[in-house]
């Protein structure tokens, strides 16, 4: 299972890198989204994948799952959701103001507005 996850995470990172290297701003934002998905799945995998009961003493189970990675992922998902939303709005506003979403034309020269 871990190997499958590793391959999946690798594909996500690969796609994210490819998208972030493109010129269109929207593709770059989708790339950052995929990158954070990959990171979250990695966090889940690193906490080791196993079956088990919820980590409550009353469960009296054979095995318990580690709740910490899930808590971390939840936090990280919320943060990346917020950042992506902000980034999308910023991109739209920048497109309105600057008239382009092509990163090549957003380079900017020294001392220019």
């Amino acid at each position: 299972m871990e190997i499958l996850m590793a391959i999946l995470i690798g594909i996500l990172f690969m796609t994210a890198t490819y998208l972030m290297l493109s010129k269109s701003l929207l593709r770059i934002i989708i790339g950052t989204g995929l990158l954070s998905h990959g990171a979250h799945l990695l966090l889940l995998t690193m906490g080791s994948l196993k079956r088990g009961a919820a980590p409550l003493l009353g469960e009296h189970a054979e095995a318990y799952v580690d709740p910490l990675p899930q808590a971390l992922i939840l936090t990280a998902i919320v943060i990346s959701f917020g950042v992506t939303a902000f980034f999308l709005v910023l991109a739209y506003r920048a497109y309105q103001e600057l008239g382009t979403d092509n990163m090549d034309r957003l380079r900017g020269k020294e001392g220019h507005e």
Partner: protein
């Protein structure tokens, strides 16, 4: 257990939340944020005093004992940095009152600055590696807003790049934490340190160390990851630039210092050698930029990079003396960078340009501004008895002691070139024939000068009073040099 620790995080947080409700009442916003900023300084002073008398203070949030819950830890280094942050925030706020503009003030400028302080103070105080990530994000989210607030074309353009770089580095942070968690199975920083010592010198720990260096290096602007900084910091107005230049990169530097003294000191031959090489390259790259540009903002921005290199060189040497020097220099640099950015902001407010070729003779009409700038510039370069001197002296001496002559020599050389780069501003901008500038009459120079003059006065006191401050700083360095002190205080073994 001590609730004083959380006050410098809590006060700005509550202030920020309250201020959101009065977004259109500018006078109330100013008063409330000034008062809360003064309260934060008082809390920070009490905290430093308390830590000095009673050693490291910890607070287990919601009473979950370490290492199970999130622990806030205030050692001397954290407490001092929190105090410096609060003082800088006050100076920048005072400067903002008459310069940032009504439009920005109406659109949540003060709440966002307060949230930025929550993030910065939190990052300095937390004792949990994932909580550090969360406070980083709080700080970054506020910095995105501050950078784009106002919505000019250059701000929009540079914000996109700034956010992109930081999103990537945040993803790397999560990845680094994931690896670390899979190896050590804990997130409490003291507990991580214990577990890593049990594992000892393993290859995977070195990999994680380098990954953390990349993450924090992107935020702290070390070579070759500083590429985003000169463009991004150029865009926002002066007080925001001062907050960014003084605080944000230093949070990255603090995190490198913390992780490289608390976790990753077992394979110092590799990790700290790498850090040292990168620190030296950072100094060189920064100095080249500082000399090359004739734009006052760019010169000071590149000086941030030089300082990051100098501090990290001291950390990489990893002796008690070099760490003392680094802490001395870190606090000095936060203070003096904020002062210089605000002074540069005043110059730009008067002249309407940041191009040195178009500025001259300011000393004639603005002697107060000129001499404040002169003292701040000398302090930046580390001329005794001003504040940069003691830190640099200790870093260089420690560098010679461990026989890394190249690095120590470059630190020395860099001071000379840094002095040249800021004197260039003084000579070209303040000497020469006075010129008339459009719109200079209504520039509230006296009011604006208050913040930077306060910070410069601190720089002088900090330099002259080195002897008196030394025991405090060396206490901070002692904790860094001996991780057991930190571990024992947190885990209470």
């Amino acid at each position: 257990m001590n609730n004083l620790i959380i006050l410098p995080i809590l006060i700005p947080l509550i202030t920020g939340v309250i201020l959101i409700f009065f977004s259109k009442k500018i006078l109330a916003q100013r008063w409330i944020s000034a008062i809360s900023s003064i309260l934060t300084i008082i809390a920070a002073v009490l905290l430093v005093n308390h830590v000095y008398k009673n050693g490291i203070q910890t607070m287990d949030v919601s009473n979950w004992e370490a290492p199970y819950g999130i622990t806030l830890v205030s050692d001397m280094l954290s407490a001092l940095l929190v105090l410096t942050t609060s003082v800088i925030a006050l100076a920048a706020l005072f400067y903002s009152f008459k310069s940032i503009g009504i439009e920005r003030e109406k659109f949540y400028y003060y709440p966002v600055v307060n949230f930025l302080l929550v993030g910065v103070n939190g990052a300095f105080t937390t004792g949990d590696i994932f909580n550090l990530f969360v406070f980083f994000e709080v700080m970054l989210m506020s910095s995105y807003v501050l950078m784009v607030l106002g919505g000019t074309k250059i701000q929009l353009r540079e914000s996109i790049k700034y956010i992109l770089v930081n999103v990537i580095s945040s993803a790397l942070f999560v990845i680094a934490v994931a690896y670390l968690y899979s190896v050590v199975g804990t997130l409490n920083m003291a507990h991580i340190s214990v577990r890593i010592s049990e594992i000892g010198n393993a290859g995977i720990i070195t990999i994680i160390a380098v990954l953390f260096l990349i993450v924090f290096g992107l935020k702290g602007a070390i070579f070759p990851l500083y590429f985003w900084l000169p463009g991004s910091y150029y865009a926002p107005p002066a007080p925001i630039m001062a907050l960014f230049g003084a605080l944000l990169t230093k949070v990255g530097v603090y995190s490198i210092t913390r992780t490289y003294t608390l976790f990753f000191y077992h394979d110092a031959g590799y990790t700290h050698q790498l850090l040292q090489i990168l620190a030296i390259m950072t100094i060189i790259a920064g100095v080249i930029g500082a000399i090359a540009y004739l734009d006052i903002k760019k010169i000071i921005i590149y000086n941030i990079i030089v300082a990051v290199g100098v501090i990290l060189f001291g950390v990489s040497v990893l002796t008690q003396e070099s760490l003392t020097g680094s802490i001395f220099y870190l606090i000095h640099d936060m203070n003096i960078k904020a002062a210089l950015f605000l002074l540069v902001g005043i110059i730009i407010r008067i002249t309407g340009t940041s191009d040195l070729d178009k500025i001259s003779g300011l000393l004639h009409r603005y002697p107060g501004l000129g001499w404040t700038f002169f003292i701040a510039a000398l302090a930046l370069a580390g001329i005794p008895p001003l504040s940069g001197f003691a830190g640099k002296l200790m870093i260089v001496r420690a560098g010679f002691e461990v026989e890394s002559y190249v690095g120590a020599g470059i630190v020395l050389m860099s001071s000379l070139l840094v002095l040249f780069s800021v004197m260039k501003i003084f000579i070209k901008g303040f000497w020469g024939a006075p010129r008339a500038y459009k719109g200079e009459e209504d520039a509230p120079v006296k009011w604006l000068l208050f913040g930077p003059a306060l910070l410069t006065a601190f720089a002088v006191l900090y330099g002259v009073g080195t002897e008196a401050i030394y025991p405090v700083i060396s206490m901070a360095a002692e904790t860094l040099a001996n991780p057991e002190i930190y571990i024992n205080a947190v885990l209470k073994e």
